[in-house]
Symmetry: C2
Subunit: 303 residues, 2 copies
């Protein structure tokens, strides 16, 4: 069951679940909204508990040099967010303040700092992982969670500029990481079915930038590098990718020198859970009051 975009926005704002912040894609969250996210995050933890992933948490930014190494600017320059600061003296500050007071553009003199907003929760992991030295024969498994930034202002609440992503990340041999990903496609489906969400898993393609990006899209689809678990949320738009299952092959292994125990370059894969998107899919499907959601959905979230 999908909702009409304007009705969805009005429902979320009127109920206070989301709070407008004056720019599309940034919203405050009510306690109820957060409680759904906390419960879903805990459901993800329970679903993956047996694997005993190493828990690591990173801030919502990474170093510019590490960011360059990820290759993100080649694929998604339009989505990335570099963080800039004022670097002038007293005189420059006086000029800056005059520009602000005149309501003119004061951002042109800002200088890039050494930090860039995190575009995906797993990005800060690969540098430290490579720095640890070779993996054990069984590979490695991590549990990460981060606020992520993507510059794509949109009226759709399912497409925020800052949102939270939980991920499990596997590193090891191609077989190890592909097995991890396949297992999570099945787990993810069962988990989301327990929330009584209509869903579909499909091969996906990322919004690679420009003409050169079209080849990357074709490659990604043909090699089935990315699957998404899709839930219809907003009427007349594509269904919303709530979970994604990504096989990076040796991309991050090569860039960050992540090696298997035998010294060969490791492969990596990750499963990502879009916290806000799942909350919004639940609200669209079951209504704005979690107290009135079906008993089985409630007990899956709050056992």
């Amino acid at each position: 069951m999908t909702v009409q975009l304007e009705a969805f926005r009005k429902g979320l704002f009127d109920s206070g679940l989301l709070i407008p912040m004056g720019v599309d894609g940034l919203y405050g969250r009510s306690e109820t909204f957060e409680s759904i996210g906390t419960a879903f995050d805990a459901l993800v933890s329970r679903t993956g508990a047996a694997d005993k992933a190493e828990v690591l948490r990173f801030p919502p930014a990474l170093s510019k040099q590490v960011f360059e190494t990820t290759g993100y600017m080649a694929s998604f320059p339009q989505l990335a967010g570099t963080i800039h600061s004022f670097a002038g003296n007293d005189k420059a500050h006086a000029a800056l303040m005059r520009t602000i007071e005149a309501k003119e553009d004061w951002t042109t003199t800002q200088k890039a700092t050494q930090v860039v907003a995190v575009p995906a929760a797993c990005y800060p992991l690969y540098g430290p992982l490579g720095a640890r030295g070779p993996l054990k024969p069984e590979g490695a498994l991590f549990d990460v969670f981060s606020w992520c930034f993507r510059h794509e202002p949109s009226l759709e609440p399912t497409r925020m500029q800052f949102f939270r992503m939980r991920e499990f990340v596997r590193a090891g041999s191609p077989e190890q990481v592909q097995q991890f990903r396949e297992a999570w496609v099945e787990r993810g489906k069962k988990m989301m079915e327990s929330l009584q969400l209509p869903l579909n898993v499909d091969v996906a393609n990322d919004p690679f930038f420009g003409r050169a990006g079209r080849m990357l899209v074709t490659n990604q689809r043909e090699q089935a590098l990315k699957f998404e678990l899709l839930v219809p949320v907003i009427e007349g738009t594509s269904p919303t990718a709530c979970l994604s299952f990504n096989y990076h092959q040796d991309k991050f292994g090569l860039s960050f020198k992540i090696r298997k125990s035998d010294g060969e370059t490791a492969h990596t894969a990750c499963v990502g859970f879009g916290i806000e998107r799942v909350i919004l899919a639940l609200l669209a499907t079951h209504g704005y009051d979690p107290q009135k959601w079906p008993d089985r959905v409630r007990s899956a979230l709050w056992p």
Copy 2:
């Protein structure tokens, strides 16, 4: 008991509590580090529970227009972080990629987006609060929590570029908000004493920018607008401000049209809890293994 800076960094990195990310002031966190923060955050919740604050959560950015309204660029331009993106076409992207590959500065063509990193957890609150219309006669109380950005690269782990801040924010009459602040100075002291941290509360001054900033410092001290709860952490440096108690007078009330029930401009105050700084103060004081901390500290954190 303070620790020497280099020994502290080595202790935190060797134990894996913090993970270097290639730039000063950005670090990954281990599960143990996070568990201390979660426990402290819950202690703050218990300490303030009786007040029944309204819980709101905001992403780590706010709109540029709201940011301008806060006046932050007048006081702390050197700390603020504007978020910039690539806004060009295929040809510009090709040029950008050549610049990156040549290891030259590729950030000069980035354009400011409509969002700015949050400098303090309460900043995103005031816009929506003003938009709600006049306060009730008893005023209002909020519970916020956010990742915050400040551009101040430092070797001191207690001075991160991205860190988490929990806050309670009170809006109402001058008497209401000053009473709130005074009550929290006492509560904060008791709460931190229960963690057996050596502490001191003192009038504080913010790092206002430049020559004009010196007047602001004097004003802030003379009017006692800011108190800090300080814990000695790093040898040979000033003690670390772990909590702060701020009286904004009518600054945010005027800027964001926050009004009392009688139509007059509301005053605001906040108490802020620096999550990472408290964790680091505990580690410096009681050692790197929370399992070996004094029983009374452990039972205050994990009752």
